[in-house]
């Protein structure tokens, strides 16, 4: 069992790093889209809501990450 524990921890650590990298990748919008020019809610640019959602997701992921590792 003790032999498996470090590799389980490594897998979990890798998962979290991957999660944060994916979130960072999602902010690099030029890799997968070009936004339509225009305004939306309250006159803000169309793409603003995308980044707000990513930011919230990041906080949720960070919250669960810190629950596990911030001791």
């Amino acid at each position: 069992m003790k032999e498996h524990k470090p590799s389980m921890q490594n897998k979990n650590g890798f998962f979290w790093i991957l999660a944060f990298l994916i979130l960072l990748l999602l902010t690099q919008d030029y890799l997968f889209t070009t936004w339509k020019n225009g305004t939306s809610f309250l006159g803000f640019p169309v793409w603003l809501s995308w980044f707000i959602i990513i930011h919230f997701l990041f906080i949720v992921v960070f919250y669960f990450f810190s629950k596990k590792y911030w001791k």
């Binding site: 690099q28 603003l48 990450f65 911030w70």
Partner: protein
């Protein structure tokens, strides 16, 4: 009315900070670190207050005017993402600080590496690159006072008066005063910024209509790349990740990792720190963008004047679109933010000079003398900042960026010490020296920008610094 609001605010802040401040300020831990006993809200606001400063109020608004809404994402996500480094570095810094009684960043570096030279270099670089950021709080104060008194208090006089006032309450109360005022000033600044956006938006026919009007005359402000293609892909990537490397390296932030009551407090503060920029970063950017409706021609001014005028878009818009008393109130809140950053920087830097450079050579000085020497250095450092403020050399945002870039050079060494099993001191020293040389080489255009491959210079410099400390792992450390 303006003077009543200003003087009233100063009296409330000053008297409030004095109450109870005399206790526990006779020891270095009491004076410099508030006895390592700050709770979640106080810790969060004191960290936030040191970030949100002239760089936030004037810098973001100015950049909003020059670039548009993409600047909001850069600052909101970029700053929020930095809470990862609170975990990576902050938790270790807190633990080691508690165990070993560290007060300054260099004390940790010296003790963990055994290298005096690395510790001196680390402290010296922190001091050097904090000065531009310290100076821009003073510059911002001067701009704001000049604006709200409509020129009756000229720029440099205003800058000097606010500097002297800040010296006063830091002198008396140390970190306890600073933390108490940070909490009040932080809440005041956020509330007033929100009110400012509502009032200005309302004056322009409502936020939706105002944004749509700006879109008609300057659609590039609504492009994701920003006006004038300010954020092409490599720069976008650079600016989103840059902040996580530099924010924990601000000396006043580093030292705040020491002062949390416990780890859960630091964790909650980190979560708040990650979340709050999402809501508050947009406020000054909105005002900057809407500034095109009232002041449409600032970009066509000659470059030096354009920088100064766009950096003052926030007070200009307030004076144009709100009653004088309201403009004075909001700008007083902005002054609160500048002073809360300035006081933290003064305290952090004076602590570092006293303990890193003087104490090792004057071991016989007692604790009270240490605090006194710290106080003298508060005054000296403030006046150095004032001297820089006498002649601002670029926009507020760009001054801040230079300061942050220099501080970020310390991140690879710090990460390696705290999470990487230690650093070979020679390679640690090399990574910092090479980093500084490269940064200044790019800044003064001695090194061709072709070598940046489109990225911001701090990212390339960080990559080289990381490479150097990693190479050090391959070399046995005798």
């Amino acid at each position: 009315m303006v003077y009543v609001i200003l003087i009233g605010y100063i009296a409330i802040v000053f008297l409030g900070s004095l109450r109870g401040a005399k206790k526990d300020v006779t020891t270095p831990e009491g004076y410099f670190l508030a006895n390592r006993n700050l709770g979640t809200l106080a810790l969060f606001f004191t960290i936030l207050a040191t970030n949100f400063s002239a760089f936030y109020f004037l810098g973001f608004a100015g950049a909003g005017y020059r670039i548009g809404y993409s600047h909001y994402v850069v600052m909101a996500f970029g700053t929020g993402f930095a809470c990862l480094s609170f975990f990576l570095l902050g938790t270790k810094i807190w633990r080691l600080g508690k165990q070993k009684g560290y007060i300054t960043p260099a004390e940790l570096i010296r003790d963990q590496t055994g290298s005096l030279i690395l510790a001196y270099l680390y402290s010296g670089i922190m001091l050097l690159f904090t000065f531009p950021y310290l100076a821009l709080q003073i510059i911002g104060s001067g701009y704001i006072l000049e604006a709200i008194t409509q020129g009756q208090v000229p720029y440099f006089l205003g800058a000097t008066l606010l500097t002297l006032f800040t010296i006063g309450y830091v002198w008396i109360g140390g970190m306890k005063s600073v933390a108490k005022t940070d909490l009040k000033q932080g809440m005041l600044a956020i509330t007033l910024m929100l009110a400012a956006v509502m009032v200005i938006g309302n004056s322009l026919g409502g936020l939706t209509l105002a944004n749509e009007k700006v879109f008609e005359i300057q659609p590039e402000l609504f492009f994701r790349e920003g006006m004038g293609n300010a954020y092409p892909p490599q720069k976008w990537f650079s600016m989103l990740i840059f902040w996580m490397f530099c924010i924990p390296m601000f000396p006043q932030i580093f030292m705040r990792f020491y002062i949390a009551k416990n780890l859960p407090t630091l964790k909650k503060s980190a979560l708040l720190y990650g979340l709050i920029p999402l809501f508050i970063s947009i406020l000054p950017v909105i005002i900057g963008v809407l500034g095109h409706l009232t002041f449409p021609d600032l970009m066509s001014l000659e470059p030096e004047l354009m920088k100064k005028e766009t950096d003052q878009i926030l007070p200009k818009m307030l004076l144009e679109h709100s009653p004088e008393w309201f403009a004075a109130l909001v700008m007083t809140g902005a002054l609160a933010a500048f002073m809360s950053t300035l006081d933290s920087q003064l305290l952090a830097l004076s602590t570092m000079v006293t303990r890193d450079f003087i104490l090792p050579y004057r071991k016989k000085i007692d604790l009270r003398q240490q605090v006194f020497i710290g106080r003298i250095w508060v005054v000296i450092i403030a006046f150095i900042g004032l001297a820089i403020a006498a002649q601002p050399f670029t926009t507020i945002f760009d001054m801040g960026k230079l300061a942050f870039s220099g501080l970020a050079i310390l991140f690879p060494v710090t990460l390696m010490i705290l999470r990487g099993g230690g650093v070979n001191p020679k390679f640690g020293i090399a990574s910092i020296l090479v980093g500084v040389l490269l940064l200044l080489g790019f800044y003064y255009k001695i090194i061709s920008s072709e070598w940046l491959f489109g990225f911001e210079s701090p990212i390339i410099v960080l990559a080289v610094s990381f490479l150097i400390v990693l190479l050090g792992k391959l070399v046995p450390n005798k």
